[in-house]
């Protein structure tokens, strides 16, 4: 069989790091070829080289058997290579059709843009591949899933035969993921070649034919997907055995720790973002908040932690009204918070790791005596946390947080918040952008805290995460809770419906 793409012995160096080290992959025509690897394994770099955004230091690229030099994304386009980026590159105020033909306008020299041909072609493509998009709808009015379909149509409109998907499911609901998988299969059946970049094993299992596993810039193996199990792939990716199921024992929940009553919160633009929310969490319980990003989760967390003002309603922690306390007093009342945005909130990026460990306790003994910092105590504490939570960094506790990897940054935050032994932990998106090894570790830590009797509010956009960690799951849609389910009594499908706004009849 012919190869659509061959990348032979490709090496790409960046200052201080070899992103791709003698990488060879061959993608057969008409197949779905997955690229699997942890963050920083070199997947994106490799595809950026193929798409003409980087030049390799060494190596050869062949497209359809011919050696090519791709020094510009336009060259890649001309070779029939298209890329669906993780962050869509669409113009919000244009319609789907306008976005699709952007740059390929069919026009006479001075005449107005002609949409007639374009609309016809878009409709044809849509029907052929099952990509249903209203060509006259503006992008800003579309759901994320629809926007992605516009991106795909854009590639097809340009007659791309080789499509690269960069982490395409990160922002989709389970239903949308299902649809995307169908679309990808359709594309394959119509003869297109697809490269799928992902670190989600399930997706690979569902659609891919072949999978190349990258680790630290090197090709570990290229495997046949059908005959390889998920855990085998995980092992290849991480380099060791990975436990998927977290060890979570049934136990009795204790007293109510957090009680929220009729909470209303406005967002930064003054619009109502959390609407009349009431719930509680008990000792030893993880309440998962599921939902698609932007449905009031962020505002809810800000209100619970004091970062933003509550419009009306009450928040009680261990029976004490903390609604209007300062941020500082929220922590004093017994709350810790792993924030959604680790760069904006979680860390002072230009501080050293050890300084980041004490952001809540820099002014308390033993770290501070009479206003003077005790560096010995700080170092001792920082070393302990670093060791206990396996935070790895170049210069140990003296490392500037900015230069640490995302996973280790997150581990450092978790370490800090867990170690404060608060009654209530509010944990938002704890594993976003992390690789399997780090995810496993963090999940275990969270469950561990639950087992110790802490009440935990877990907000995540990853349904898998919510399902595997939570005791109870509340789904948020448009600022309201559309349903609360026990974790063992629900499934992805039911939650997916709730996340899309459908109330469960149960």
């Amino acid at each position: 069989m012919d190869y659509a793409i061959e990348m032979l012995h490709v090496t790409k160096e960046f200052p201080g790091i070899i992103a791709n080290d003698d990488v060879t992959i061959r993608v057969k025509k008409g197949t779905i070829h997955a690229l699997l690897g942890e963050n920083g394994a070199g997947k994106s770099t490799l595809m950026s080289i193929l798409f003409g955004m980087y030049q390799p230091n060494r190596g050869e690229i062949k497209v359809n058997g011919k050696t090519v030099v791709i020094n510009d994304p336009n060259v890649a386009n001309d070779l029939g290579i298209g890329m669906v980026h993780q962050h869509f590159k669409l113009v919000d105020i244009y319609t789907a059709a306008e976005n699709i033909i952007l740059g390929r306008e069919d026009k006479s020299m001075f005449g107005p843009l002609s949409f007639a041909n374009a609309s016809k072609k878009i409709k044809e493509l849509g029907e052929r591949y099952g990509l249903y998009v209203d060509p006259d709808m503006k992008v800003e009015d579309m759901t994320v899933g629809m926007q992605q379909r516009v991106e795909i149509l854009k590639m097809l409109y340009r007659d791309s035969d080789i499509l690269i998907f960069d982490e395409p499911t990160a922002v989709l609901t389970p239903q949308e993921i299902d649809e995307l998988m169908e679309i990808m299969k359709n594309l394959k059946n119509e003869g297109k070649t697809i490269v799928l970049i992902t670190h989600k094993l399930k997706e690979i299992k569902r659609v891919a034919d072949v999978c190349t596993v990258l680790r630290r810039g090197k090709v570990i193996d290229t495997i046949d997907v059908a005959s390889t199990s998920e855990s085998e792939m995980a092992k290849l990716m991480v380099g060791r055995d990975v436990e998927f199921k977290v060890d979570k024992k049934e136990h009795e929940f204790g007293d109510v720790v957090l009680k929220v009553e009729h909470l209303n919160v406005k967002n930064a633009r003054g619009l109502s973002a959390v609407k009349d929310l009431s719930f509680d969490i008990r000792k030893g319980e993880i309440l998962g908040i599921a939902g698609i990003d932007g449905n009031g989760q962020t505002e809810l967390v800000y209100a619970l932690t004091g970062l933003s003002k509550v419009e009306s309603g009450k928040v009680y922690l261990n029976g004490k009204d903390i609604t209007d306390l300062s941020i500082y007093d929220h922590y004093e009342a017994g709350l810790s918070h792993v924030p959604e945005d680790r760069h904006r909130h979680g860390l002072i990026l230009d501080f050293k790791l050890k300084e980041n460990y004490i952001v809540h306790s820099y002014d308390k003994a033993p770290f501070c005596k009479h206003g003077v910092l005790d560096n010995k105590e700080i170092d001792k504490y920082a070393s302990r946390l670093t060791e206990e939570f396996d935070v790895r960094s170049g210069q140990g506790i003296e490392t500037i947080a900015r230069s640490m990897s995302g996973g280790n940054q997150q581990k450092a935050i978790i370490a800090r918040e867990v170690d404060r032994s608060s009654d209530l932990m509010i944990i938002v998106q704890p594993t976003r952008g992390l690789d399997v090894g780090a995810i496993e570790y963090i999940h275990n830590r969270i469950v561990n805290e639950r087992n110790k009797g802490r009440a935990i509010l877990l907000v995540s956009f990853e349904l898998d995460e919510i399902l595997s960690l939570s005791d109870r799951i509340a789904v948020m849609f448009s600022g309201e809770i559309t349903g609360v389910k026990k974790a063992e009594e629900t499934n992805e499908h039911e939650l997916g419906l709730l996340m899309a706004g459908g109330h469960s009849n149960a």
Binding site: P15, T305, L307, S326, I327, Y328, H330, Y331, H337, P339, R344, H345, G346, L347, I348, L349, D350, F351, E355, I358, V359, H360, Y362, D363, F367, C368, G371, V372, L373
Partner: protein
Amino acid sequence: MLKKYEKIIIPLVAIILGLLVGMLILLVSGLDVGALFSGLLQGATGIKSGSDLNLRYPGELLVTAIPLIFTGLAIGFAYRCGMFNIGADGQVIFGSLCAVSFALLVPLPGPLAAIGTLLAGGLGGAIWAFIPGILKVKFNISEVVTGIMLNYVALYGCNYFIRILPGSTDTKTAEIPLNASLESEFLSSITNNSRLHWGIVVVIIATILYWFIIEKTSFGYQLRATGFNKEGARYAGIKADRSVILSIMISGFLAGLAGSMLVQGTFTWGRILVASESYGFDGIAVALVGGCNALGIFLSGLLFALLSVSETILQVAGIPREIGQIISSSIIFFVAIQYIIKFFLDRSFKKKKRAVSSKEEAA
């Protein structure tokens, strides 16, 4: 390894390159390059070949350096706390006004007068800095814009108030009482009648406190955290708005002390200024070259003072005084383009490293 010394190497490279520019200009103009160095040496130490040691030069060097170090500390402090206090110039001027008014209007016994005057200047600067601080916090107005505008308000406004103080002429105020000044018979006598005053002790204490507060206290931690990431500090439970205002007020306090120094030390009267003397702006250069670090600011304050006091000596040696300014400006320029220097340093460092590792491989 390079990273570790980067903070020292970059200003050093900049200083050497700056001197190089000065020397090249002298060479091209056919002037005596040696005189530049003997001038700088004389300005720094008072040593001049063929004549007696004259300690007045190092004395005057310190006198010039004192206000520069204070404004350098002011700019550096704000910078470490995430702000650009370009309004330091106005804070110097307003600090001077407060110091001279206090000295003339509030008679206190003994050294209390000097201490009171000193603090009045500092507080004046802090108050003047409070305005951009509160505007930044409440209305999110950049402290750069308000700072620049307040510089003009201070310059012209203070001239009015200086003029209405009792005993003022149209150019200056009456002389402040002796016990309100920092003049020192002793320091002056050991430096051959220079104007060296007790401010030198104050500036050393301030430099040490700067280091201590920023690096060693929980208060400094709080201000630095806010400076690096205001939202992050807020998340941590730090009262970020309060930190912002405090940071710029402390910066203003240091700038105001520069004003006190001028009133109590360099001169012993307040002056009507026709134009800004740009102590605040020179402070930016001092802080920049000093890497906003206490010792660095102290040394770079001395360096800029040296370039300034050497102008007189250079003029005597027949070298245009502008050469001092050319060198200072070049140093600032080279520090400002430190990213370019860093780039070259990194590159040559890496080349070397690569060469070493390939040699190792070959071996």
